[in-house]
């Protein structure tokens, strides 16, 4: 092995040049599974080397790079630059369709805003779960509006700019009205399958059906 004879030569004729010592330390720190102390570096480098000085050079060399020489206690390690930590995260974004409960709730808020939770429940005929509202809030598609000046002062929900942006609307008033929905065939008189009793509770497991008595006050008035 040529490096062995080189090493021997080095110890005979003095330490390797500082640049060489620097790259030796670089390699050791790179491959080491944990920080290496200056003393251990000295022990591992050929005789006559000055680890402390080589470390100074190496630290300078890595200044502003993607990797930095850091000192941990009396040991040294190479670490990725802290400002690049975000590169060490791989973000995988999964796109999911909004649940039926969420999209219906969102639609009702968009069409009826500002609207209270009770009113949403009236319209949907099922109670709205906390998770559904939280999800829409988290998506920043809805936000809290002003409190309703009625007993209990319930909060209202309104849609956000983010909502308008996502759905390509200038204002919520641009949403097609019921007449347009009907002419688009979305509101035909056909009995939709989910209006059968029982089907609702199955599809929106998070939403509890309202009790008989709670229903349709809004529409009977």
């Amino acid at each position: 092995m040529p490096q062995v004879s080189e090493e021997k030569l080095e110890s005979l004729f003095g330490a390797p040049p500082m640049a060489e010592q620097e790259r030796m330390i670089e390699a050791i720190l790179f491959a080491s599974t944990e920080p290496v102390s200056a003393r251990e570096l000295d022990a591992r480098l050929p005789h006559g080397c000055d680890a402390a000085e080589a470390l100074v050079h190496l630290r300078r060399r890595y200044e502003g790079r993607g990797v930095a020489l850091v000192r941990i206690g009396d040991a040294y390690a190479l670490r990725t630059a802290p400002d690049l930590g975000y590169l060490m995260q791989r973000e995988t974004v999964e796109i999911r369709k909004l649940s039926r409960a969420a999209i219906e709730t969102l639609a009702i808020i968009a069409y009826h805003q500002p609207v209270t939770r009770a009113e949403i429940e009236e319209i949907r005929g099922v109670s709205v779960s906390r998770g559904t509202v939280d999800q829409l809030l988290e998506l920043e598609w809805i936000r809290f509006g002003r409190r309703r000046m009625t007993p209990g002062r319930p909060v209202t929900f309104v849609v956000t700019e983010g909502f308008l942006g996502h759905f390509g609307l200038e204002t919520a008033r641009d949403l097609p009205g019921l007449a347009e929905l009907r002419s688009a065939g979305l509101l035909d008189g056909r009995l939709p399958p989910m209006s059968m009793p029982g089907a609702i509770a199955q599809e929106d497991e998070d939403d509890l059906p309202l009790k008989e008595g709670d229903q349709s006050e809004l529409f009977e008035e």
């Binding site: 060490m88 999964e94 639609a107 989910m194 059968m196 529409f219």
Partner: protein, 259 residues
């Protein structure tokens, strides 16, 4: 067994020598390897190797090995037979009527195979002499793990939104229970109705007259009302409150209050 037969010191020595050779052969694996070894011992370029000489050497070896360890020799014997065949081909003048490859061609193929095996062996050695990961060069000792952050974004289109809204409104227009009741006259309703009406009727009366108002014309509603009224009649007859009669099949069913 050859082991039992040859127990004199000279036989044992001979067997050990042959076994050493065979073990060596095992190490090299196979008749081609043995040929290569023999060829190498000739210290000549494999391409210029005398196949004839090689065949002779091989046959001698196999003859010796076979006497001692017959079970090991099968592959080697096949090769030996082939080499004997090749040898005869090479020694005899070519027969112009003979089909198939000539002795020279067979010899060339063998030389090619030997050369190729040697070449593979050489490059294998060169490969293993290369710098190797974890021995001569090293990967990062303290990898920083890449954290995989899974985030979920939800999406919906304007059409989804409109459809959802339409769905909630459609649901309003057709209140499930009200809608269903419109076309259905339940057994309970029929029983209630007949219990209250039966007292007013004196003689035999066609049960169709007990159908509620508005259920006589629409076929679906009539079917429902007829069925429940008939079922209610049976129930009342069972209770002993009315009598039932029918003059013939498909004739009107008539009822009368009992007692």
């Amino acid at each position: 067994m050859a082991d039992d037969a040859g127990s004199t010191p000279s036989a044992i020595a001979g067997r050990l020598a042959a076994e050493a050779l065979i073990v060596d052969v095992d190490g090299f694996e196979g008749p081609l390897d043995l040929l290569l070894t023999l060829g190498r011992s000739q210290k000549v370029d494999l391409r210029k190797i005398s196949v004839l000489q090689l065949a002779r050497q091989y046959l001698e070896f196999v003859e010796q090995a076979r006497a001692l360890r017959l079970e090991l020799a099968a592959d080697y014997l096949v090769m030996a037979a082939w080499l004997a065949f090749l040898k005869s081909r090479l020694l005899l003048p070519p027969d112009p009527d003979e089909e198939g490859p000539s002795g020279e061609e067979l010899a060339a193929r063998l030389a090619f195979q030997l050369e190729r095996l040697q070449a593979m062996r050489d490059v294998a050695a060169r490969l293993m002499a290369r710098d190797q990961l974890g021995r001569d060069f090293f990967a990062r000792g303290q990898p920083e793990t890449v954290t995989r952050r899974r985030s979920v974004t939800y999406t919906a289109s304007l059409l989804d939104l409109m459809q959802a809204y339409a769905r909630t409104r459609t649901r309003d227009e057709f209140r499930p229970y009200a809608m269903d009741r419109e076309a259905i006259f339940s057994l309970e309703q029929a029983l209630d109705r007949m219990r209250s009406l039966i007292g007013f009727s004196g003689g035999w009366t066609d049960i169709s007259t007990y159908l509620p108002e508005g259920f006589g014309t629409d076929p679906a509603r009539r079917r429902s009302a007829t069925a429940s009224t008939f079922a209610a009649s049976l129930e009342l007859a069972k209770e002993g409150r009315i009598e039932l009669r029918q003059s013939e099949a498909f004739a009107p069913v008539e009822i009368r209050k009992r007692g």
